[in-house]
Protein backbone atom coordinates (compact mmCIF):
# COMPACT_ATOMS: atom_id res chain seq x y z
CA UNK A 1 0.00 0.00 0.00
CA UNK A 2 1.44 3.32 -0.99
CA UNK A 3 0.25 6.63 0.33
CA UNK A 4 1.06 9.14 -2.36
CA UNK A 5 -0.45 12.39 -1.36
CA UNK A 6 -3.76 13.50 -0.07
CA UNK A 7 -5.37 15.79 -2.66
CA UNK A 8 -3.92 19.30 -2.11
CA UNK A 9 -6.43 21.84 -0.85
CA UNK A 10 -4.73 24.85 -2.39
CA UNK A 11 -5.77 24.32 -6.01
CA UNK A 12 -9.29 24.57 -7.44
CA UNK A 13 -8.96 20.97 -8.54
CA UNK A 14 -7.84 19.85 -5.10
CA UNK A 15 -10.56 21.85 -3.39
CA UNK A 16 -13.08 20.21 -5.72
CA UNK A 17 -11.86 16.76 -4.69
CA UNK A 18 -12.10 17.66 -0.99
CA UNK A 19 -15.65 18.96 -1.41
CA UNK A 20 -16.69 15.95 -3.46
CA UNK A 21 -15.17 13.63 -0.84
CA UNK A 22 -16.93 15.43 2.00
CA UNK A 23 -20.28 15.25 0.19
CA UNK A 24 -19.69 11.57 -0.62
CA UNK A 25 -19.22 10.85 3.08
CA UNK A 26 -22.28 12.93 3.94
CA UNK A 27 -24.45 10.76 1.70
CA UNK A 28 -22.91 7.53 3.00
CA UNK A 29 -23.77 8.63 6.54
CA UNK A 30 -27.44 8.06 5.69
CA UNK A 31 -26.74 4.34 5.90
CA UNK A 32 -26.34 4.77 9.63
CA UNK A 33 -29.33 7.06 10.04
CA UNK A 34 -30.72 10.45 9.07
CA UNK A 35 -28.34 13.11 10.40
CA UNK A 36 -27.33 16.76 9.87
CA UNK A 37 -24.61 15.84 7.36
CA UNK A 38 -27.04 13.97 5.16
CA UNK A 39 -29.60 16.77 5.50
CA UNK A 40 -26.97 19.27 4.43
CA UNK A 41 -25.94 17.23 1.38
CA UNK A 42 -29.54 16.48 0.45
CA UNK A 43 -30.60 20.15 0.54
CA UNK A 44 -27.48 21.27 -1.30
CA UNK A 45 -28.14 18.63 -3.95
CA UNK A 46 -31.74 19.80 -4.43
CA UNK A 47 -30.68 23.46 -4.67
CA UNK A 48 -27.76 22.94 -7.00
CA UNK A 49 -29.57 20.56 -9.31
CA UNK A 50 -32.71 22.67 -9.64
CA UNK A 51 -30.52 25.65 -10.48
CA UNK A 52 -28.62 23.54 -12.97
CA UNK A 53 -31.80 22.45 -14.73
CA UNK A 54 -32.88 26.05 -15.19
CA UNK A 55 -29.60 26.66 -16.99
CA UNK A 56 -30.09 23.59 -19.12
CA UNK A 57 -33.64 24.54 -20.06
CA UNK A 58 -32.68 28.10 -20.85
CA UNK A 59 -29.45 27.52 -22.78
CA UNK A 60 -30.43 24.30 -24.54
CA UNK A 61 -34.13 24.83 -25.17
CA UNK A 62 -35.53 28.30 -24.65
CA UNK A 63 -32.70 30.36 -26.09
CA UNK A 64 -31.88 28.49 -29.32
CA UNK A 65 -35.37 27.20 -30.06
CA UNK A 66 -37.49 30.13 -29.05
CA UNK A 67 -35.76 33.38 -28.21
CA UNK A 68 -33.31 33.27 -31.13
CA UNK A 69 -36.08 32.23 -33.52
CA UNK A 70 -38.37 35.03 -32.39
CA UNK A 71 -35.58 37.59 -32.72
CA UNK A 72 -34.90 36.42 -36.28
CA UNK A 73 -38.62 36.45 -37.01
CA UNK A 74 -39.13 39.99 -35.78
CA UNK A 75 -36.05 41.13 -37.71
CA UNK A 76 -37.53 39.71 -40.91
CA UNK A 77 -40.84 41.35 -40.07
CA UNK A 78 -39.04 44.67 -39.61
CA UNK A 79 -37.56 44.24 -43.07
CA UNK A 80 -41.05 43.75 -44.40
CA UNK A 81 -40.50 40.09 -45.25
CA UNK A 82 -43.67 38.64 -43.72
CA UNK A 83 -43.30 35.22 -45.29
CA UNK A 84 -39.81 34.73 -43.96
CA UNK A 85 -40.88 36.06 -40.58
CA UNK A 86 -43.25 33.12 -40.22
CA UNK A 87 -40.74 30.61 -41.48
CA UNK A 88 -41.99 30.25 -45.05
CA UNK A 89 -39.78 30.47 -48.14
CA UNK A 90 -40.61 32.41 -51.33
CA UNK A 91 -42.82 29.64 -52.66
CA UNK A 92 -44.76 29.57 -49.40
CA UNK A 93 -43.32 26.21 -48.34
CA UNK A 94 -42.61 25.61 -44.65
CA UNK A 95 -38.94 26.10 -43.73
CA UNK A 96 -37.18 24.20 -40.99
CA UNK A 97 -36.61 27.42 -39.03
CA UNK A 98 -39.94 28.34 -37.46
CA UNK A 99 -39.22 32.01 -36.59
CA UNK A 100 -42.50 33.63 -35.54
CA UNK A 101 -44.34 30.33 -35.54
CA UNK A 102 -42.70 30.00 -32.14
CA UNK A 103 -45.29 32.46 -30.87
CA UNK A 104 -47.64 29.51 -30.41
CA UNK A 105 -45.41 27.59 -27.97
CA UNK A 106 -44.63 30.95 -26.32
CA UNK A 107 -48.31 31.54 -25.79
CA UNK A 108 -48.81 28.02 -24.44
CA UNK A 109 -45.87 28.58 -22.11
CA UNK A 110 -47.32 31.85 -20.84
CA UNK A 111 -50.66 30.13 -20.23
CA UNK A 112 -48.87 27.78 -17.85
CA UNK A 113 -47.40 30.67 -15.92
CA UNK A 114 -50.91 32.00 -15.33
CA UNK A 115 -51.36 29.34 -12.65
CA UNK A 116 -48.76 31.23 -10.71
CA UNK A 117 -49.74 34.76 -11.68
CA UNK A 118 -53.51 34.82 -11.76
CA UNK A 119 -55.75 32.14 -10.29
CA UNK A 120 -58.71 33.59 -12.21
CA UNK A 121 -57.10 32.93 -15.59
CA UNK A 122 -55.39 29.72 -14.55
CA UNK A 123 -57.91 27.72 -16.56
CA UNK A 124 -56.00 28.76 -19.69
CA UNK A 125 -53.16 26.52 -18.55
CA UNK A 126 -55.41 23.58 -19.32
CA UNK A 127 -55.09 24.42 -23.00
CA UNK A 128 -51.33 24.00 -22.71
CA UNK A 129 -51.60 20.82 -20.70
CA UNK A 130 -54.16 19.38 -23.12
CA UNK A 131 -51.85 20.17 -26.03
CA UNK A 132 -48.87 18.63 -24.26
CA UNK A 133 -50.65 15.46 -23.22
CA UNK A 134 -52.62 15.16 -26.45
CA UNK A 135 -49.41 15.26 -28.47
CA UNK A 136 -47.72 12.77 -26.13
CA UNK A 137 -50.68 10.38 -26.40
CA UNK A 138 -50.77 10.63 -30.17
CA UNK A 139 -47.08 9.80 -30.39
CA UNK A 140 -47.35 6.99 -27.84
CA UNK A 141 -50.07 4.98 -29.57
CA UNK A 142 -48.32 3.82 -32.76
CA UNK A 143 -45.02 3.50 -30.87
CA UNK A 144 -46.53 1.30 -28.17
CA UNK A 145 -48.19 -0.81 -30.82
CA UNK A 146 -45.13 -1.37 -32.97
CA UNK A 147 -42.28 -1.55 -30.45
CA UNK A 148 -44.07 -3.20 -27.57
CA UNK A 149 -46.87 -5.31 -28.95
CA UNK A 150 -45.99 -6.31 -32.50
CA UNK A 151 -42.22 -6.48 -32.09
CA UNK A 152 -42.58 -8.84 -29.12
CA UNK A 153 -45.09 -11.00 -30.97
CA UNK A 154 -42.76 -11.14 -33.92
CA UNK A 155 -39.82 -12.13 -31.72
CA UNK A 156 -41.86 -14.90 -30.23
CA UNK A 157 -42.82 -16.40 -33.58
CA UNK A 158 -39.41 -15.84 -35.10
CA UNK A 159 -37.85 -18.33 -32.65
CA UNK A 160 -39.78 -21.08 -34.34
CA UNK A 161 -38.74 -19.94 -37.77
CA UNK A 162 -35.00 -19.86 -37.26
CA UNK A 163 -34.97 -23.52 -36.26
CA UNK A 164 -36.58 -24.51 -39.54
CA UNK A 165 -34.04 -24.12 -42.35
CA UNK A 166 -36.65 -23.60 -45.09
CA UNK A 167 -38.50 -21.00 -43.08
CA UNK A 168 -35.32 -19.30 -41.99
CA UNK A 169 -34.02 -19.05 -45.54
CA UNK A 170 -37.22 -17.59 -46.91
CA UNK A 171 -37.56 -15.15 -44.00
CA UNK A 172 -33.93 -14.12 -44.32
CA UNK A 173 -32.87 -15.37 -40.88
CA UNK A 174 -29.75 -17.29 -39.89
CA UNK A 175 -30.87 -20.90 -39.76
CA UNK A 176 -29.96 -22.72 -36.54
CA UNK A 177 -29.45 -26.45 -36.16
CA UNK A 178 -32.59 -27.69 -34.47
CA UNK A 179 -31.58 -29.92 -31.61
CA UNK A 180 -34.12 -31.38 -29.20
CA UNK A 181 -32.89 -29.02 -26.50
CA UNK A 182 -33.48 -26.00 -28.71
CA UNK A 183 -36.98 -27.16 -29.53
CA UNK A 184 -37.78 -27.67 -25.88
CA UNK A 185 -36.51 -24.17 -25.21
CA UNK A 186 -38.62 -22.69 -27.99
CA UNK A 187 -41.72 -24.36 -26.60
CA UNK A 188 -40.91 -23.33 -23.04
CA UNK A 189 -40.54 -19.79 -24.29
CA UNK A 190 -43.94 -19.98 -25.95
CA UNK A 191 -45.61 -21.54 -22.90
CA UNK A 192 -43.99 -18.90 -20.70
CA UNK A 193 -45.14 -16.03 -22.87
CA UNK A 194 -48.67 -17.34 -23.23
CA UNK A 195 -49.12 -18.14 -19.55
CA UNK A 196 -47.61 -14.85 -18.38
CA UNK A 197 -49.85 -13.04 -20.85
CA UNK A 198 -52.81 -14.91 -19.44
CA UNK A 199 -51.92 -13.54 -16.00
CA UNK A 200 -52.92 -10.11 -17.33
CA UNK A 201 -56.48 -11.07 -18.30
CA UNK A 202 -58.56 -8.83 -16.09
CA UNK A 203 -62.11 -9.57 -17.08
CA UNK A 204 -62.04 -13.35 -16.97
CA UNK A 205 -62.49 -15.15 -13.67
CA UNK A 206 -59.41 -17.10 -12.69
CA UNK A 207 -60.96 -20.57 -12.90
CA UNK A 208 -60.13 -23.93 -14.46
CA UNK A 209 -57.51 -23.87 -17.22
CA UNK A 210 -56.96 -20.14 -16.83
CA UNK A 211 -56.21 -20.60 -13.14
CA UNK A 212 -53.52 -23.16 -13.95
CA UNK A 213 -52.11 -20.91 -16.62
CA UNK A 214 -52.09 -17.91 -14.27
CA UNK A 215 -50.13 -19.94 -11.74
CA UNK A 216 -47.56 -20.99 -14.34
CA UNK A 217 -47.48 -17.39 -15.54
CA UNK A 218 -46.66 -16.13 -12.04
CA UNK A 219 -43.84 -18.66 -11.74
CA UNK A 220 -42.36 -17.44 -15.00
CA UNK A 221 -42.73 -13.83 -13.87
CA UNK A 222 -41.00 -14.55 -10.57
CA UNK A 223 -38.07 -16.30 -12.23
CA UNK A 224 -37.76 -13.34 -14.56
CA UNK A 225 -37.79 -10.86 -11.68
CA UNK A 226 -35.17 -12.92 -9.88
CA UNK A 227 -33.02 -12.96 -13.01
CA UNK A 228 -33.21 -9.16 -13.35
CA UNK A 229 -32.41 -8.79 -9.68
CA UNK A 230 -29.37 -11.07 -9.84
CA UNK A 231 -28.21 -9.46 -13.04
CA UNK A 232 -28.17 -6.01 -11.42
CA UNK A 233 -26.27 -6.92 -8.24
CA UNK A 234 -22.81 -6.82 -9.77
CA UNK A 235 -23.48 -3.53 -11.53
CA UNK A 236 -24.49 -1.96 -8.22
CA UNK A 237 -21.43 -3.28 -6.43
CA UNK A 238 -19.21 -1.83 -9.13
CA UNK A 239 -20.83 1.56 -8.56
CA UNK A 240 -19.88 1.34 -4.92
CA UNK A 241 -16.35 0.31 -5.83
CA UNK A 242 -16.22 3.38 -8.07
CA UNK A 243 -17.05 5.68 -5.16
CA UNK A 244 -14.59 3.93 -2.84
CA UNK A 245 -11.89 4.25 -5.47
CA UNK A 246 -12.58 7.96 -5.62
CA UNK A 247 -12.27 8.28 -1.86
CA UNK A 248 -9.14 6.18 -1.45
CA UNK A 249 -7.34 6.92 -4.66
CA UNK A 250 -8.25 10.43 -5.73
CA UNK A 251 -8.81 11.95 -2.31
CA UNK A 252 -6.53 10.09 0.08
CA UNK A 253 -4.01 9.10 -2.55
CA UNK A 254 -3.81 5.49 -1.44
CA UNK A 255 -2.85 2.98 -4.10
CA UNK A 256 -2.57 -0.71 -3.54
CA UNK A 257 0.40 -2.20 -5.29
Amino acid sequence: MILNLIAPLGTTEGLGIWIAAFLTLCIFSFLYKDNPFYKFAEHLFVGVSSGYYISIYYWNTLKPNMIDELVKGFKALGQGNTQKAFGLDESGAVMAEPHLRMLIPLMLGIFILLIFISRKNAWLSRISFAWYIGVASGIAIPTAMSTRVLLQAQGSIRDFCSYNSDCATSAGLDPQVATTALWINAFLLLIGTLSALAYFFFSLPSKGALKVMNKVGIYFLMISFGASFGYTVMARISLLIGRLQFLFYEWLGITIS
Binding site: I27, H43, L44, L62, G109, G134, V149, A196, G226
Partner: protein, 214 residues
Protein backbone atom coordinates in the same frame (compact mmCIF):
# COMPACT_ATOMS: atom_id res chain seq x y z
CA UNK B 1 -64.67 25.67 -15.40
CA UNK B 2 -65.15 24.21 -18.82
CA UNK B 3 -62.96 21.43 -20.10
CA UNK B 4 -64.52 21.10 -23.53
CA UNK B 5 -61.96 23.32 -25.25
CA UNK B 6 -58.91 21.57 -23.79
CA UNK B 7 -60.44 18.16 -24.54
CA UNK B 8 -60.93 19.19 -28.16
CA UNK B 9 -57.31 20.33 -28.34
CA UNK B 10 -56.10 17.03 -26.91
CA UNK B 11 -58.24 15.23 -29.49
CA UNK B 12 -57.00 17.23 -32.47
CA UNK B 13 -53.33 17.09 -31.42
CA UNK B 14 -53.52 13.41 -30.60
CA UNK B 15 -55.24 12.50 -33.85
CA UNK B 16 -52.82 14.54 -35.95
CA UNK B 17 -49.78 13.01 -34.27
CA UNK B 18 -51.25 9.54 -34.65
CA UNK B 19 -52.20 10.10 -38.28
CA UNK B 20 -48.73 11.39 -39.02
CA UNK B 21 -47.20 8.02 -38.30
CA UNK B 22 -49.31 6.44 -41.05
CA UNK B 23 -49.88 9.14 -43.64
CA UNK B 24 -47.33 10.60 -45.99
CA UNK B 25 -48.17 14.27 -46.53
CA UNK B 26 -45.44 16.83 -46.35
CA UNK B 27 -47.54 19.41 -44.45
CA UNK B 28 -48.57 16.83 -41.86
CA UNK B 29 -45.02 15.51 -41.48
CA UNK B 30 -43.54 18.96 -41.03
CA UNK B 31 -46.31 19.90 -38.62
CA UNK B 32 -45.55 16.83 -36.50
CA UNK B 33 -41.85 17.51 -36.64
CA UNK B 34 -42.45 21.08 -35.51
CA UNK B 35 -44.72 20.00 -32.67
CA UNK B 36 -42.37 17.29 -31.42
CA UNK B 37 -39.43 19.62 -31.45
CA UNK B 38 -41.12 22.51 -29.70
CA UNK B 39 -43.71 21.13 -27.36
CA UNK B 40 -40.85 20.78 -24.91
CA UNK B 41 -40.96 24.62 -24.67
CA UNK B 42 -43.99 24.17 -22.44
CA UNK B 43 -41.85 22.12 -20.07
CA UNK B 44 -39.22 24.85 -20.06
CA UNK B 45 -41.83 27.39 -18.96
CA UNK B 46 -43.20 25.01 -16.39
CA UNK B 47 -39.85 24.94 -14.61
CA UNK B 48 -40.73 28.44 -13.38
CA UNK B 49 -43.69 26.92 -11.58
CA UNK B 50 -41.42 24.27 -10.17
CA UNK B 51 -38.96 26.78 -8.81
CA UNK B 52 -41.79 28.90 -7.45
CA UNK B 53 -43.03 25.84 -5.57
CA UNK B 54 -39.55 25.10 -4.23
CA UNK B 55 -39.11 28.69 -3.07
CA UNK B 56 -42.53 28.78 -1.46
CA UNK B 57 -41.80 25.62 0.49
CA UNK B 58 -38.45 26.80 1.80
CA UNK B 59 -39.39 30.43 2.36
CA UNK B 60 -42.28 29.20 4.50
CA UNK B 61 -39.86 27.07 6.52
CA UNK B 62 -37.57 30.06 7.02
CA UNK B 63 -40.42 32.35 7.97
CA UNK B 64 -41.92 29.97 10.49
CA UNK B 65 -38.48 28.91 11.71
CA UNK B 66 -39.62 25.32 11.31
CA UNK B 67 -37.45 22.39 12.33
CA UNK B 68 -34.42 22.36 10.09
CA UNK B 69 -35.03 25.83 8.64
CA UNK B 70 -31.29 26.30 8.33
CA UNK B 71 -31.20 23.62 5.65
CA UNK B 72 -33.51 25.76 3.55
CA UNK B 73 -30.69 28.29 3.42
CA UNK B 74 -28.51 25.54 1.97
CA UNK B 75 -31.08 24.98 -0.79
CA UNK B 76 -30.99 28.68 -1.69
CA UNK B 77 -27.22 28.76 -1.48
CA UNK B 78 -26.87 25.88 -3.94
CA UNK B 79 -29.58 27.24 -6.20
CA UNK B 80 -28.16 30.74 -6.48
CA UNK B 81 -24.60 29.47 -6.88
CA UNK B 82 -25.77 27.64 -10.01
CA UNK B 83 -27.89 30.55 -11.25
CA UNK B 84 -25.15 33.17 -10.80
CA UNK B 85 -22.49 31.05 -12.49
CA UNK B 86 -24.95 29.84 -15.12
CA UNK B 87 -26.48 33.16 -16.11
CA UNK B 88 -24.45 36.12 -14.96
CA UNK B 89 -20.93 35.09 -15.74
CA UNK B 90 -19.14 35.12 -19.03
CA UNK B 91 -15.67 33.68 -19.50
CA UNK B 92 -14.52 34.53 -23.01
CA UNK B 93 -17.85 33.57 -24.47
CA UNK B 94 -18.23 30.50 -22.27
CA UNK B 95 -21.61 30.91 -20.67
CA UNK B 96 -24.24 28.78 -18.97
CA UNK B 97 -23.23 25.23 -18.19
CA UNK B 98 -20.02 25.77 -20.16
CA UNK B 99 -18.79 28.47 -17.80
CA UNK B 100 -15.82 26.99 -15.86
CA UNK B 101 -17.28 27.82 -12.44
CA UNK B 102 -20.64 26.36 -13.31
CA UNK B 103 -18.92 23.27 -14.64
CA UNK B 104 -16.76 23.12 -11.50
CA UNK B 105 -19.86 23.15 -9.28
CA UNK B 106 -21.47 20.53 -11.45
CA UNK B 107 -18.41 18.26 -11.40
CA UNK B 108 -17.57 18.63 -7.73
CA UNK B 109 -20.99 18.93 -6.14
CA UNK B 110 -23.82 17.60 -8.28
CA UNK B 111 -21.97 14.74 -9.97
CA UNK B 112 -20.40 13.15 -6.84
CA UNK B 113 -23.66 13.53 -4.90
CA UNK B 114 -25.53 11.72 -7.65
CA UNK B 115 -22.90 9.01 -8.01
CA UNK B 116 -22.88 8.40 -4.25
CA UNK B 117 -26.67 8.17 -4.04
CA UNK B 118 -26.53 5.72 -6.92
CA UNK B 119 -23.85 3.65 -5.16
CA UNK B 120 -26.01 3.35 -2.03
CA UNK B 121 -27.91 0.80 -4.09
CA UNK B 122 -25.17 -1.73 -3.36
CA UNK B 123 -26.24 -1.71 0.31
CA UNK B 124 -29.95 -1.49 -0.40
CA UNK B 125 -29.84 -4.39 -2.83
CA UNK B 126 -28.27 -6.48 -0.08
CA UNK B 127 -31.02 -5.66 2.42
CA UNK B 128 -33.66 -6.32 -0.22
CA UNK B 129 -32.08 -9.70 -0.97
CA UNK B 130 -32.11 -10.52 2.71
CA UNK B 131 -35.82 -9.75 2.86
CA UNK B 132 -36.50 -11.99 -0.14
CA UNK B 133 -34.51 -14.69 1.60
CA UNK B 134 -36.85 -14.61 4.60
CA UNK B 135 -40.06 -14.86 2.56
CA UNK B 136 -41.40 -18.38 2.62
CA UNK B 137 -43.43 -18.99 -0.50
CA UNK B 138 -42.85 -20.82 -3.73
CA UNK B 139 -42.90 -17.56 -5.67
CA UNK B 140 -40.29 -15.93 -3.44
CA UNK B 141 -38.12 -19.03 -3.60
CA UNK B 142 -38.23 -19.04 -7.39
CA UNK B 143 -37.22 -15.40 -7.42
CA UNK B 144 -34.38 -15.98 -5.01
CA UNK B 145 -33.02 -19.09 -6.73
CA UNK B 146 -33.09 -17.39 -10.13
CA UNK B 147 -31.40 -14.31 -8.64
CA UNK B 148 -28.63 -16.41 -7.04
CA UNK B 149 -28.00 -18.45 -10.18
CA UNK B 150 -27.81 -15.39 -12.41
CA UNK B 151 -25.63 -13.52 -9.93
CA UNK B 152 -23.19 -16.38 -9.46
CA UNK B 153 -23.22 -17.08 -13.18
CA UNK B 154 -21.87 -13.61 -13.77
CA UNK B 155 -18.89 -13.99 -11.49
CA UNK B 156 -17.08 -17.20 -12.25
CA UNK B 157 -15.29 -17.28 -8.91
CA UNK B 158 -16.42 -20.79 -8.14
CA UNK B 159 -15.16 -23.56 -10.34
CA UNK B 160 -15.53 -27.31 -10.56
CA UNK B 161 -18.58 -29.59 -10.74
CA UNK B 162 -21.89 -27.80 -11.10
CA UNK B 163 -20.23 -24.41 -10.85
CA UNK B 164 -18.65 -24.83 -14.27
CA UNK B 165 -22.12 -24.82 -15.77
CA UNK B 166 -23.26 -21.70 -13.97
CA UNK B 167 -22.65 -19.26 -16.85
CA UNK B 168 -24.72 -21.51 -19.11
CA UNK B 169 -27.49 -21.83 -16.56
CA UNK B 170 -27.51 -18.07 -16.14
CA UNK B 171 -27.79 -17.57 -19.87
CA UNK B 172 -30.63 -20.08 -20.08
CA UNK B 173 -32.60 -18.32 -17.36
CA UNK B 174 -32.08 -14.98 -19.08
CA UNK B 175 -32.95 -16.28 -22.54
CA UNK B 176 -35.89 -18.52 -21.80
CA UNK B 177 -38.08 -17.89 -18.71
CA UNK B 178 -36.90 -14.29 -18.37
CA UNK B 179 -37.46 -13.52 -22.04
CA UNK B 180 -40.89 -15.20 -22.00
CA UNK B 181 -42.16 -13.04 -19.12
CA UNK B 182 -40.59 -9.87 -20.46
CA UNK B 183 -42.42 -10.40 -23.74
CA UNK B 184 -45.72 -10.90 -21.97
CA UNK B 185 -45.19 -7.83 -19.78
CA UNK B 186 -44.23 -5.72 -22.78
CA UNK B 187 -47.29 -6.81 -24.76
CA UNK B 188 -49.55 -6.06 -21.80
CA UNK B 189 -47.91 -2.69 -21.18
CA UNK B 190 -48.22 -1.81 -24.87
CA UNK B 191 -51.94 -2.52 -24.80
CA UNK B 192 -52.38 -0.65 -21.53
CA UNK B 193 -50.54 2.37 -22.91
CA UNK B 194 -52.60 2.37 -26.09
CA UNK B 195 -55.82 2.08 -24.19
CA UNK B 196 -54.89 4.91 -21.80
CA UNK B 197 -53.68 7.16 -24.62
CA UNK B 198 -56.82 6.49 -26.68
CA UNK B 199 -59.02 7.24 -23.68
CA UNK B 200 -57.26 10.60 -23.38
CA UNK B 201 -57.56 11.44 -27.07
CA UNK B 202 -61.24 10.52 -27.19
CA UNK B 203 -61.94 12.34 -23.94
CA UNK B 204 -63.12 9.22 -22.09
CA UNK B 205 -60.51 9.77 -19.39
CA UNK B 206 -60.23 13.42 -18.40
CA UNK B 207 -59.08 13.25 -14.81
CA UNK B 208 -55.64 14.50 -15.81
CA UNK B 209 -57.09 17.94 -16.50
CA UNK B 210 -58.32 18.36 -12.96
CA UNK B 211 -61.43 20.52 -13.06
CA UNK B 212 -64.80 18.93 -13.77
CA UNK B 213 -66.87 19.67 -16.84
CA UNK B 214 -69.56 21.62 -15.09
Amino acid sequence: MNNRGPLLIAFVCGMLMMAESFLDYSWLNSFAEWVQKYYIIIAAFAIVLGVASLFKLHLAKLKRKEDGWRYSLVVFFGFFAMIITGFFMNDDGLVGTKHPWNAWLYNNVQLPLGATMFSLLAFFIASAAYRAFRARSLEATLLLVAACLVMLGQVPILTGGIFDNLPEIKQWILDIPNMASKRAIMIGVGLGMMSTALKIIFGIEKTYLGGSEE
